[in-house]
């Protein structure tokens, strides 16, 4: 190998070494040296073939081992991504995952002039549960409500744990009447679900505020609207749905 070539090679980073490869050492002399011409070629051809086979075998080994390490890294990466987007207690998508989902909905809304609806649901009198029955009872209620909401929404909807006892539900391609129907269904499902904890029946209801996001509106404003509506639902006596006009 010429000095120039090997200098160029050693400059390249992260490359395996070929300098001690016998084939490369012969290669230049093979073409010109008389001892490699005619009949004598066969021996060298066989050596070359064996060498080539050994290299191929080596290549397959290295690739398979390397693939196996890379695939485990990929799995780890996936489980980390999954863990980072879930709420630890309820297993629902967390606030961060919901913000990703909303960003996607917004870009659809802007591109196609579609609308989507948000339902902000808050567990009624949750502080009372924590104060009188303890935090474990509170956690039990949170998980129970999460399961009920999750199983009551449509396949295309997303329900996330948005804050302490708040859940945000995103309903793609949904106008106000549709969102109201879903919200009423969620209220009914939570109110009639079994929320017994350690033999105590803990009566559990939610209040929900609805806002519909159109085209290029501001997301924070839509969320604030759902939030205001939810507080109005609480104000009007809880266990109800409210929409700000």
């Amino acid at each position: 190998m010429s000095g120039k070539k090997s200098a160029a090679r050693s400059k390249r980073k992260d490359i395996v070494n070929f300098e001690d490869d016998p084939v490369l050492r012969w290669s230049e002399s093979v073409a010109t040296d008389p001892k490699y011409q005619g009949e004598a070629c066969f021996d060298h051809f066989l050596q070359l073939k064996n060498h080539y086979e050994a290299l191929l075998k080596r290549f397959v080994r290295v690739t398979r081992i390397s693939d196996s390490y890379q695939s485990s890294l990929k799995e780890l990466n996936q489980s980390l991504t999954e863990a980072a987007s879930r709420d630890l207690l309820t297993g629902l998508p967390n606030r961060r995952a919901m913000l990703d989902e909303l960003a996607e909905q917004i870009s659809r809304a802007e591109r196609y002039g579609e609308e989507f609806a948000l339902i902000l649901a808050d567990i009624d009198d949750f502080k009372g549960v924590n104060d009188t029955r303890g935090h474990e009872a509170g956690d039990h209620i949170l998980v129970s409500v999460a399961r009920t909401l999750e199983s009551s929404i449509r396949r295309e909807d997303t329900c996330a744990r948005w804050g302490g006892e708040e859940f945000l539900i995103c309903l793609p391609h949904t106008e106000l009447a549709g969102a109201r129907a879903v919200a009423e269904k969620l209220l009914e499902a939570v109110a009639t679900s079994d929320t017994t904890y350690e033999e105590h029946q803990i009566s559990t209801t939610i209040s929900a505020g609805i806002a519909v996001h159109h085209g290029r509106e501001n997301l924070d404003a839509t969320i604030a609207k759902a939030d205001d509506a939810m507080f109005e639902a609480k104000h009007q006596g809880k266990n109800r749905v409210y929409v700000l006009e």
């Binding site: 992260d14 395996v16 290295v62 081992i65 693939d67 196996s68």
Partner: protein, 131 residues
């Protein structure tokens, strides 16, 4: 011969080669920017040691992740040890794998079949931060 000790770097594994005990350990993650630069001295040390000493050698690999060129050098090291084994040197290899990485376990088990020297594939359960 002197000990070869390299602390684990950002992308390079820790190395502990002890000529007294004959224990050669490589552990951690291996994806150095230039794996040739990293592994060549290791192979040089091993060749020199095998030449100079008849001390039994154990290679213990506890590598949790390695890139393709590191894998190539790992096999180069195994080949050197296999050659020493062929010449009557007492050599043993322990390759530790994460028990959860079934695919790596299978491929290392397959690799083991290519060697005559004692070669143990050890499957271990570890917490993610220990790897």
């Amino acid at each position: 011969m002197t000990k070869l000790e390299i602390e684990a770097g950002n992308s390079s594994p820790s190395v502990r080669f002890d000529p007294e005990s004959g224990l050669l350990e490589i552990g951690g993650e291996s994806y150095p920017e230039n794996s040739k630069e990293f592994y060549r001295p290791l192979i040089g040390w091993i060749e020199e040691f095998l030449e100079a000493s008849s001390q039994p050698v154990t290679l213990r690999l506890t590598v949790t992740y390695m890139n393709t060129s590191s894998t190539k050098y790992m096999i180069d090291i195994l080949d050197r040890l296999e050659a020493a084994h062929d010449e009557g040197h007492a050599v043993a290899v322990e390759w530790h794998c994460d028990a959860e990485n079934g695919r790596a376990l299978d491929t290392i088990e397959e690799l083991k079949e290519d060697f005559e020297m004692p070669f143990e594939v050890i499957s271990e359960w570890r917490e993610p931060d220990e790897w």
